[in-house]
């Protein structure tokens, strides 16, 4: 993406006439095809890869930092919803580093004993 990296944080992101008319952004608010720069991996993600026996980010290659209602967020496929990035996390000035933060945050959220799936599983799991 060539536009300002904070575009969706500092504006409503409704750029075209059509987007203004329907009141929503058309398309993703990040480049889904952006492949990760492994030079920017965090220590936590490195430990995760080693534990899982992977030499790269595996499924996390498809995780990017997005923007929901003018807040930085990461999409959790397990709850089909956005998890907003806490305000105390300073956002880097490039998408690659932001994506690494999003991956780490999502991983910690999904593996947490407080994840909604834990409660849902207790209530509905058949086996």
């Amino acid at each position: 993406m060539t536009q300002d990296i904070d575009h969706y944080l500092t504006s409503d992101g409704l750029d075209s006439e059509r987007e203004k008319e329907i009141g929503q952004t058309i398309g993703y608010r990040y480049d889904v095809n952006l492949v990760p720069d492994m030079n920017r991996i965090t220590p936590y993600l490195q430990s995760y890869m080693e534990t899982m026996g992977w030499s790269d980010l595996n499924w996390l290659e498809d995780v990017h930092m997005g923007y929901e209602e003018e807040r930085a967020a990461v999409f959790d496929r397990n709850i089909n919803g956005w998890v907003t990035v806490p305000d105390n996390i300073t956002l880097p000035d490039n998408q690659q580093d932001r994506d690494m933060i999003a991956r780490e945050l999502l991983l910690k959220f999904q593996m947490s004993s407080n994840h909604p799936m834990v409660t849902l599983r207790k209530a509905y799991a058949k086996f």
């Binding site: 806490p86 593996m111 209530a123």
Partner: protein, 281 residues
């Protein structure tokens, strides 16, 4: 069909009466809390603890149950013998596990998995690793049609050739094919990466919404809204690293692969939506 009980445990837990409006996950979750590497409800397994399963005289349900029970006992490496091309084997594994399958699988093998590393010495039937979420699946020989249907994450590798509609409805992850792929591969692809080292059949990437397809051989024909794109340095780096993981090479070098992406001319449902609403109203 089993009767649905109205006194389900979810009612006792208050899940039907709680206020859902304006809920935020931050109430429940702290990013600084100690981190796990597996889902909280799953058992920890030790990769150095191994077991063998002989499926010769078992039915598919018993094999899948035995795999689950072994994981609950902490077994992290399972060698499955005599799978006999049974359908629906090794599905629903949601944790890390080294699974070595000595033989071939039938339809829908390794479906719905989320984390294991699977090696299959033989072939696989239709829809191998459908709805795969994470992990790696490596097939040493050929695969049937709809290979990796609706895959959402992880690496799915076939070192031989595959049938038609590879990665249909792909929503993420990486599919690698060492040989040829059939017609309509990447049909309705939405994201993720498909790497074909050999030739691709007709209508490649038909109606793809997003994602990337790399082809090392010849393309018989592109589908609707699939268009060529330029390879970038990041593409080349990623392809080189990914193929090296599985000991695979493309005959002409990754820098000479063809890159196919969505033309995004089919991105029109947002435009139609206001009109459709008016029609309904």
């Amino acid at each position: 069909m089993a009767t649905v009980s109205s006194s389900h445990q979810s009612h006792e837990m208050g899940l039907h009466s709680e206020q859902l409006t304006d809920r935020t996950q931050q109430v429940f979750f702290n990013a600084e809390e100690s981190a796990n590497f597996t889902y909280a409800w799953l058992p920890e397994v030790d990769i150095n603890k191994s077991a063998d399963v002989d499926a010769a005289d078992m039915d598919v349900k018993d094999v899948n149950i035995q795999i689950r029970e072994l994981m609950e006992q902490g077994v992290g490496t399972i060698n499955l013998h005599n799978p006999g091309s049974m359908h629906g084997l090794c599905v629903g594994i949601l944790s890390r596990l080294q699974l070595n399958i000595h033989g071939s699988l039938g339809y829908f093998g390794c479906g719905l998995i989320d984390g294991p590393n699977v090696n299959i010495s033989g072939r696989v039937g239709w829809s191998c690793a459908e709805n795969m979420m994470a992990g790696t699946v490596v097939i040493e020989k050929n695969a049937g049609s709809t290979f990796g249907a609706a895959i959402r994450g992880g690496d799915l590798v076939c070192k031989g050739s595959v049938g038609s509609r590879t990665g249909i409805d792909q929503k993420g992850g990486t599919i690698i094919v060492g040989g040829k792929t059939g017609a309509f591969s990447g049909f309705m692809m939405q994201r993720g990466r498909m790497v074909i080292l050999g030739d691709a059949g007709m209508n490649l990437g038909d109606s793809m919404y997003d994602g990337t397809i790399y082809v090392g051989g010849d393309i018989e024909g592109l589908g609707v809204d699939a268009v060529p794109a330029e390879m970038t340095e990041l593409d080349i780096q990623w392809l080189t690293a990914k193929l090296a993981l599985y000991g695979m090479k493309t005959p002409n070098g990754v820098e000479n692969m063809q890159k196919i992406v969505a033309g995004k001319q089919l991105w029109n449902y947002d435009n139609l939506e206001p009109t459709e609403k008016k029609l309904v109203l």
